[in-house]
Amino acid sequence: MKRFRLLSPVLVLLVFVSAGQGSASAHELKEDNGISAVLHIPPDDNPKSGQDTLFYFAFSSQQPGFDLGYCKCQVSFQASDNRLNTAPLTQDVSDPLSASASLTFDKPGAYNVIVRGQTGTSADSTFSLNYLVRVVAGTNAAQTAARQTASWQVILLGVTGLVIVGVIAGEMVRRGSHYTKDHAAER
């Protein structure tokens, strides 16, 4: 009990208000007409405006013989005000079913990333995969600082809770008779 009294002033419970932050929608799987692809945006699936952003697509096809080299695939990036940018989809040299595209978003916001292509020559062989991606401001120091503060608040509160549990555990285990015999043997 003495240990509790010594430690309790040290353990101060801090209550923080944390702000949530909206962020990107990435690392998604979309499927259409037998073609599916997983989108990954390195390094952390969190694209930022003003920076070159790489989009990786890992494709899968239920149709045999699907080849990214012949699918006439292209990637479109549509902003909320309907501005449209296109970028070539480049097949990965080491993996024929992976491809990438690169774009620099000039401002933050929500974008539709649309991959279109075709698996054959007929009209019903086209596919369209639509991903909703939110681009955050690349150099917004205030937003970055707010997120970091919120993150540290949550972590600090969590660590405080774990320390409290640890101290209680230590005291209860010390008092418990579980390990008494073993403790005697160790001496």
Binding site: V38, D44, T90, V173, H178
Partner: protein
């Protein structure tokens, strides 16, 4: 009533319930942290499942280090507490692995037919599911009564933890976006070296160096080295792909 009080007193005098409580707290903390930072978007789901996956690996590693530490340092204080904690650590590892799988499959990939995933994802998920099945089987049989009833078969099942850890590493290296970074590979290599060194030291200390024990450790070293080399290879492939993609797209 006396029985209930005695049972409660028994449980709260042992270390396992506190490990379980810490596991619950960490589960809630991770969910809260991700919700705070990424607020109900896909990134919240990604980060949550990633952290749960790494927590599972951490708990599994701690559980695997219990025996070598206790054998290498027989006079360590609280040795019985360390041994007692192993079961709770293993069950917690299975818990985090299950959470990782459920969140990834149902929330991130929308419960899609696995055959519609890219081939690499299919193979990696298969390895992950096998590893998870082993961990869940071990967690479900972590009861004294089952241990006594099954005898040697219980030990044979629980020896599969070594296969599970290798499957987990390969699963992570195949599709884990951040599992093949330099920092992660260095930490995993260091842990592997510590585990191998500890087992070699125990073998030498035991003065019972038999051929089968030497072969077992040698096999572990080869498998671990092969797995980590695969991770390193995946790292270089990703670096090369990123460089090629940047070159093509400019």
């Amino acid at each position: 009533m006396k029985d209930i009080t005695a049972t409660i007193k028994y449980w709260f005098g042992g270390v396992r319930i506190y490990i379980a409580l810490i596991t619950v707290l960490i589960t809630l903390e991770v969910w809260w942290w991700a919700a705070t930072l990424f607020g109900g978007t896909q990134l919240e789901i990604i980060r949550t499942q990633e952290v749960y996956a790494w927590l599972s690996v951490l708990y599994l590693t701690l559980a695997l280090l219990v025996s070598p530490v206790a054998k290498l340092f027989p006079k360590i204080p609280g040795k019985s507490i360390i041994y007692d904690s192993r079961r709770a650590l293993g069950i917690s590892a299975a818990w985090f692995a299950a959470l990782h799988m459920l969140i990834t499959y149902f929330k991130q990939f929308g419960g899609i037919n696995p055959l519609q995933l890219p081939a690499t994802y299919q193979r990696s998920m298969l390895l992950g599911v096998i590893a998870l099945a082993i961990l869940i089987a071990m967690a479900a049989t972590s009861v004294n009564a089952i241990m006594k009833k099954w005898g040697v078969w219980w030990f044979r099942l629980h020896r599969l933890v070594y296969a599970a850890i290798i499957l987990v590493l390969v699963h992570a290296f195949m599709i884990g976006a951040h599992a093949t970074t330099t920092v992660v590979l260095v930490i995993l290599s260091a842990l592997a070296l510590i585990w191998i060194a500890a087992n070699i030291a125990i073998l030498i200390k035991s003065n019972e160096v038999t051929i089968s024990r030497v072969l077992s450790i040698s096999l572990c070293i080869i498998v671990l080295a092969g797995t980590l080399t695969y991770g390193l290879d995946q790292h270089f492939q990703q670096v090369q792909s990123a460089a090629e993609a940047k070159g093509h797209n400019h």
